[in-house]
């Protein structure tokens, strides 16, 4: 068998195998290469079959009939067409023009071998076509799955973008609330400072009140001393009146009245003194309470100041968080757009894969028909008994 005759279909089959291998390793474009290889192999096989059927079979029929009739026409009528057929088939006729029956048989044998090669290659191509069809179907499933996953990813990214925008809005409101809280704390600090000044002023006034009450106490002491001296004076007057007997009776009455007045004054001053001491005690306690209140106010002011500082830090952190959330939203929108593009590309790939599968199915049908034709060709050639082993 000539190597030139099997080179073309062999190369086509090799190309198909290479493409099939690439498909197995995941290159989607290799399916086109597989289809091209299968088509080239089929074209080569068709050419071989057509050449064999067009040139060899009529000549063989005529040679068979002439041989059976043993007529001289055999040499004239068959020599030219057979030679032409053999020449077309790549078989060179003898230079002397003699065409013995052995040459015909050799040609038929060659044809039979070619037909057998065609049948074998057709079966190989059919197997490769089956593999390619299954690979195309698997590719179609994978592409559909990838498209669904891409759609889910795009939907998830859109959801993330929506959530990020909601978070951005929440962060914005949190920033506004924190700003308002900072303002409130500032107002509270001002109020606390004003309260502190008021408490300090009140403390001073209460101290002055205590000092005034102390002065009142001193005056009350003086009045009390006067009352005591008046009482002593009334007592002495009363004793003198008593010593005067009846003559001092009226004076004794006056002295007793003076004594009662002095006692009343003494009681009143004693009561005033008690009240003044009570005022001094309460003023002292109030001053202590005010000092404690001032200490508490200072502590509250410090805590409020710290709270304001913490709120300002929170405000800054929240603003930074809002910026990050806006960035996430923008990135999510961008990725959602990219996913939509990928989804569109996946749809196109899916359509192409579907078309490829359809083409491969049709090619498979044609290949089966080609195999059947090759088998019939082998059977037809086999009637000459020229096939090896027949």
């Amino acid at each position: 068998m000539s190597e030139r005759r099997v080179l073309l279909p062999g190369a086509a089959a090799l190309l198909a195998l290479v493409a099939l291998a690439v498909i197995v390793f995941g290159d989607p474009m290799a399916l086109r290469w597989l289809l091209a290889g299968l088509l080239a192999a089929a074209v080569a096989l068709a050419a071989l079959a057509a050449r064999a059927a067009a040139g060899v079979r009529p000549a063989a029929e005529r040679a068979f009939e002439a041989s059976a009739a043993d007529e001289p026409i055999f040499r004239e009528e068959l020599a030219g067409p057979i030679e032409a057929s053999l020449s077309a088939a790549g078989l060179t006729a003898p230079a002397d023009g003699a065409m013995p029956a052995a040459g015909l048989m050799q040609a038929l044998g060659t044809i039979a071998e070619v037909a057998q090669d065609v049948s074998q290659i057709s079966r190989s191509v059919r197997g490769q076509s089956d593999l390619a069809t299954r690979a195309a179907a698997r590719e179609q499933r994978e592409v559909a799955l990838a498209a669904r996953e891409l759609a889910a990813a795009a939907s998830a990214l859109l959801t993330v973008a929506g959530r990020a925008r909601e978070a951005d809005a929440l962060a914005g409101r949190a920033v506004q609330a924190t700003t308002a809280a900072v303002d409130i704390v500032g107002g509270t600090l001002d109020g606390i400072a004003q309260s502190r000044r008021l408490i300090h002023q009140t403390e001073k006034r209460i101290k002055r009140l205590g000092e005034r009450s102390q002065e009142i106490g001193e005056v009350v002491g003086i009045i009390q001393a006067i009352a005591e001296r008046t009482g002593i004076l009334a007592l002495n007057a009363s004793m003198h009146a008593a010593a005067a007997g009846d003559a001092g009776h009226s004076f004794a009455v006056v002295a007793d009245e003076v004594k009662r007045l002095s006692e009343s004054a003494r009681d009143s001053t004693a009561r005033i003194g008690r009240l003044v001491r009570s005022i001094q005690t309460e003023a002292h306690e109030t001053t202590l309470a005010m000092n404690h209140a001032i200490t508490q106010v200072v502590e509250i002011s410090r805590l409020a100041d710290e709270a304001g500082e913490q709120m300002r830090l929170t405000q800054q952190e929240t603003e930074a968080l809002a910026g990050e959330v806006r960035q996430i939203a923008a990135t999510s929108d961008e990725q959602a757009g990219v996913s939509s593009g990928l989804q569109e590309r996946a749809r196109v790939i899916q359509e192409a894969s579907t078309e490829t599968t359809r083409q491969l199915t049709a090619q498979n049908i044609e290949t089966r028909r080609l195999v059947e034709c090759a088998r019939q060709l082998v059977d037809e050639v086999g009637v000459f008994g020229t096939l090896p082993g027949r």
Binding site: I232, N236, S238, M239, A242, A243
Partner: protein, 177 residues
């Protein structure tokens, strides 16, 4: 110094003045000139007898001040003093407090509980203060100057004091020293 009036001449409702001397309540005779000085200025006299607290002046008249109970503390020069009698011949005594008017109950029969006889034995249900006062009266520097204990309208015990007897006793005691 005026002589004390007899106890029998006291009218039941007579207004008299009483004072505490070294814790003992004594009532002074009626009609006697009295003057109380709550913070008298007393100058101590060196080498003076123990009962003599010092010397004071009353409207230009120097007066010796007697401390019967020797209650005045060294350095305390402003005691409460009761002047008894005319300033020129008065007796100045250191007292515990200011005098007060006393209305004594009418005197009962001798030895009765109503008049609170100082010599009588105290009753079992007597007030503790009465017992203490009777003990003070028994320890008085000049018992002969004290009369029989009497009660006032508030049922408090008072011992009538004869200033003349007391003055004489103090003068004799001072002269002996």
């Amino acid at each position: 110094m005026h002589a004390p009036e007899p106890q029998a001449q006291d009218s039941p409702r007579t207004r008299r003045f009483g004072v505490r001397i070294d814790g003992l309540p004594v009532v002074l005779p009626e009609g006697l000139l009295l003057e109380f000085l709550p913070r008298a200025v007393v100058w101590r006299l060196p080498l003076a007898p123990a009962r003599v607290a010092g010397l004071m002046q009353l409207r230009g008249h120097p007066l010796p001040v007697f401390d019967i109970g020797r209650t005045i503390e060294p350095g305390h020069s402003h005691p409460a003093v009761l002047i008894i009698g005319e300033p020129a011949r008065a007796l100045a005594l250191i007292v515990d407090e200011a005098p007060q008017p006393v209305c004594l109950q009418p005197p009962g029969p001798p030895g009765s509980a109503a008049n609170g006889d100082a010599d009588a034995e105290p009753h079992a249900d007597a007030e503790p203060s009465d017992t203490l006062l009777r003990a003070l009266a028994g320890d008085f520097i000049c018992p002969e100057a004290l009369g029989d204990a009497r009660r006032d309208e508030s049922d408090r015990l008072w011992w009538p004091l004869d200033p003349a007897v007391l003055g004489a006793s103090l003068a004799n005691e001072t002269a002996d020293v």
